[in-house]
Symmetry: C2
Subunit: 286 residues, 2 copies
């Protein structure tokens, strides 16, 4: 199966990311429908012309027509949806998602799922610190990564389809990782980063900081404006990996603190030099 | 004393920040000279028309003509300069600096200084992760803070002059703090932020991260590209305050880790909500 203009694409959950998929796919001429919780999101999406049809009901016939279903829901809501409504899915349908954790979701969904449909998980790494379909147009994909996390249960054809989806959406890099590797890396680059921003923003009671900050602090804490429902759920669903990364961070933090306490300038400089070299690798691909 | 077009301004150290002063002041029609280490910086600045005259020598007559001297040097080099060359300063001259630490510099300089010249310390918070006068044009001041840190030894007139300088340079906000408050706040918003970026960048050996990162990690680690000579010196010269802020951070980090380990979702959400509220205060002034 390949994406063609005849592919019926259903987006379940028209929030920030679901909306960004709708915008990109509709612009390329695909047929896009949606099921989402709020009527105002449906109305907005129809007005903007980013869906062909939308509803707030889980309409069996709409679900039954979809060749490709994109789930853009919180992890637990996604699992619940599969349990309750999978009987409506079209035989041969391919499912994908945008969830930021994989191990605790992918295997569970694949276990629950009927044998005649297939779920290929993906993580489009283009989130923002705001949400809702009204902010979807601001999702920037042209420098962002899109990671597919296939398992033994997936067919090469369905994996190729979901990679093609990432390319059609315009992501800068489409790559593959195992669910476990994905979760370890995301625990580090995304979840730990959010932990640090939140901890930094709440660790002391200094006042009027906005008058005394430089840009570095602003950049560092941009993600300290955080959706607590989503992120607490993501943290918990990736608890072991995140705890491991937090402990690695903490050990290195203590190392730097120790160097500073005893005035070991050379050791501090070594750490900073390593930091500079590693950070430069990022700018090269940007 | 007020800044006028007749004020002779000497910049000592034409690096990133010194260069940014030269650019802004020359554009406004001031008379700007410089003393800096490398001839190529002098040549470049003359070509670009951002100084009227420059030299690599500490020329007594040039120093003796300056009404306002801006020191843009590493802290120890600055202290050393004062000891060696202050006899050349013009009676009544006002001195300022751009140093990122204050307590360990300001009192020391004021103690060393001749009674007929005055030092008013300032910290323009517009640094970048690159350096040198060739990058000075990229220093963005229009959203940046400029902090003056007067002491009992300063006169209102000289403090007013250095504040006027911050306004002439185009900084978004010019404010006053004691050297001690400055150092505590900077330990938090700047130095701790740099610690976190360096620790994050060096705390594990995950490979090829550039393929799997989102923007949040890029933003968070921009400052992980770091000038190890300057920052290790700044850290050491503000050691006590930075250690205090590191310990506050670590205590809160451990709190979040503990909440995650036992699955205390409500406590995590509370911390995230506080983080969001505090971060929003920043966007309001931006």
């Amino acid at each position: 199966m390949k994406l063609t203009k005849k592919t019926n694409i259903l987006i379940v959950g028209l929030g920030l990311m679901g909306g960004s998929y709708a915008i990109a796919l509709k612009k390329k001429g695909y047929h896009v429908t949606c099921i989402t919780r709020s009527q105002s999101s449906v109305d907005y999406a129809l007005e903007q012309g980013i869906i062909d049809y939308g509803t707030t009901e889980v309409d069996p016939s709409l679900v039954g027509e979809a060749d490709l279903v994109v789930f853009s829901l919180y992890p637990r809501v996604f699992l619940d949806w599969i349990e309750r409504y999978q009987q409506y899915l079209k035989p041969g349908a391919v499912l994908t998602d945008v969830t930021g954790v994989k191990t605790s979701v992918v295997y569970r969904v694949q276990e629950l799922l009927r044998p005649d449909v297939e779920f290929v998980a993906a993580h489009p790494m283009a989130g923002r610190e705001v949400y809702g379909v009204r902010n979807s147009a601001g999702v920037k994909v042209d420098e962002a990564n899109y990671i597919v996390t296939p398992t033994d249960k997936n067919t090469p054809e369905a994996v190729a389809l979901i990679k093609q989806l990432g390319e059609e959406l315009g992501y800068a890099r489409v790559s593959e990782l195992s669910p476990e590797d994905h979760d370890e890396i995301v625990a580090f680059v995304s979840q730990l980063a959010h932990c640090l921003a939140v901890v930094l923003m709440t660790c002391n009671d200094l006042q009027n900081l906005e008058n005394y900050t430089g840009n570095s602090f602003r950049d560092l804490t941009r993600i300290a404006h955080i959706n607590e429902d989503m992120w607490s759920e993501l943290f918990l669903m990736n608890r072991e990996a995140l705890l491991r990364q937090m402990d690695l961070f903490r050990a290195q933090f203590d190392r730097l603190r120790g160097q500073l306490a005893v005035g070991d300038v050379e050791a501090m400089k070594d750490m900073m030099r390593q930091s500079t070299v590693r950070r430069d690798a990022f700018d090269k691909v940007k």
